[in-house]
Amino acid sequence: MNWIGESLHGAVALATAGDARLWAIIFLSLQVSLTAVALAAVAGCLAGAAVAVGRFPGRRLAIVLLNAAMGLPPVVVGLVVYLLLSRAGPLGSMGLLFTPGAMVIAQFLLIAPIIAALSRQVIEDAWREYEEQLRSLGVSGPGAALTLIWDTRFSLVTVLLAGLGRAMAEVGAVMIVGGNIDGVTRVMTTAIALETSKGDLPLALALGLILLAIVLGLNGLAYAVREWSVRRYG
């Protein structure tokens, strides 16, 4: 049991010492995941709102597919993105493989369906409440969708957080398309996997603790925003 204590001690020392290598990994993780979440937020919320408000043939199938896509296996997504971006692939000329850009694409593909499916549910619930009122004002279609996105913004923060949680915790896809290259594409999850396999438990634990702290902090922030918004806006 002593090695756990020693590892924890080393982890805290690393986390508090401002180790440049550690902070580079954390910074890249946040950069990749936040970029993917920002892109997925735009695409996912718009798609979710369109399905929530729209009435079109195949809508039910679209909902089933969106819900099913929430469970996309990361390694499969990683493999598909790898094939697309590899030199022989259709997008190989872009030279994105083994870059943070490829990792953003993989994470985007993983979390956009999550954000779309969850925001669809949030917005559809609101649409049930608002529909008659908005239609009586002559608002429907895209106008209604944008109004509902704005009006459910505080609930959608929680949805985005679910996406961010998935992105930050993801390892399989970014390992495949990023390659876990030190100083280039090494993020917290891939570093934890690597350092654990190498036996460098203090660094792995330090990264794990920081990852947990970030996720906890973001969840706390989202909870506070939601509580404040309910008190402020009803």
Binding site: E129, Y130, E132, Q133, L137, G138, W150, Y233
Partner: protein, 239 residues
């Protein structure tokens, strides 16, 4: 009835939803007066109002509004349960104005003035900066009336606007409805509240089971209802 006195012609209206015929052949010409639609639960009053506004498409029949000064009348509607957006009271009114073809191109300051005027009309100008959804039910209904009034409608459809309110809020809303009517807006009011109908309406449409059971001027309806369902309703035997 002279054509200029007509508000709307309802011709052979039917509405069927979920296997239930909510409107079963509505044929009438509503006058440009204060109209109240009364009737027991499930009579089809609210469905009729929604069909008149275009929120529901009738299974059969036509709603033909009489033109006002050569243009089709602007019709606004207020519901039993007001739905305000998660923004300030003033912004709720401005949102409605921005959706209206008549006002959407006006500058922001002009829209704000209109919103303030409408809110002053319902006695809520002092709450214009408050979030709409934290107001009381009565205040929210007054905002909903201000929102509808700000659109300068020719016709205002009111679906049980006082049904969820306490007596104080009911009196306030009733007063506003009288003011809106006095400003020249034609009002069609669906209500369960016989007192409000008696004080407000000049013309009564009494519905039962998706049909018009009786239609007459208000004093005559309340003093000598002609149909058995209307008599039972006024005596409290039909809820």
């Amino acid at each position: 009835m002279a054509e200029s006195d007509e508000l709307v012609r309802l011709i052979g209206l039917q509405f069927e939803g979920r296997g239930h015929r909510a409107l079963d052949g509505i044929d009438t010409v509503l006058p440009r007066k204060r109209v109240a639609i009364l009737g027991p639960n499930g009579a089809g009053k609210s469905v009729l109002l929604r069909v008149m506004h275009g929120l529901l498409k009738p299974s059969a029949g036509v709603v033909a509004w009489a033109h006002v000064n050569t243009h089709a009348p602007r019709v606004a509607m207020v519901f039993q349960r007001p739905v305000l957006l998660r923004r300030s009271v003033e912004d709720n009114v401005i949102y409605a104005l921005r959706q209206s073809a008549r006002h959407r191109h006006e500058p922001a300051a002009r829209l704000r003035d209109r919103a303030q005027l409408a809110l002053a009309g319902v006695g809520l100008a002092h709450l214009s900066g408050r979030p709409g959804r934290v107001l009381s039910g009565g205040e929210q209904q007054r905002v909903a009336l201000a929102r509808a009034w700000s659109l300068e409608p020719d016709v205002l459809l009111l679906d049980e606007p006082t049904a969820s309110l306490d007596p104080g809020a009911t009196r306030a809303v009733e007063g506003i409805i009288h003011e809106i009517a006095a400003s020249g807006v034609a009002i069609v009011l669906v209500t369960h509240h016989r007192g409000i109908a008696k004080r407000f309406a000049e013309h009564i449409v009494f519905m039962d089971r998706g049909r018009i059971a009786e239609e007459s001027v208000a004093p005559q309806f309340f003093s000598a209802p002609a149909s058995e369902p209307a008599r039972a309703y006024l005596e409290g035997d039909l809820a």
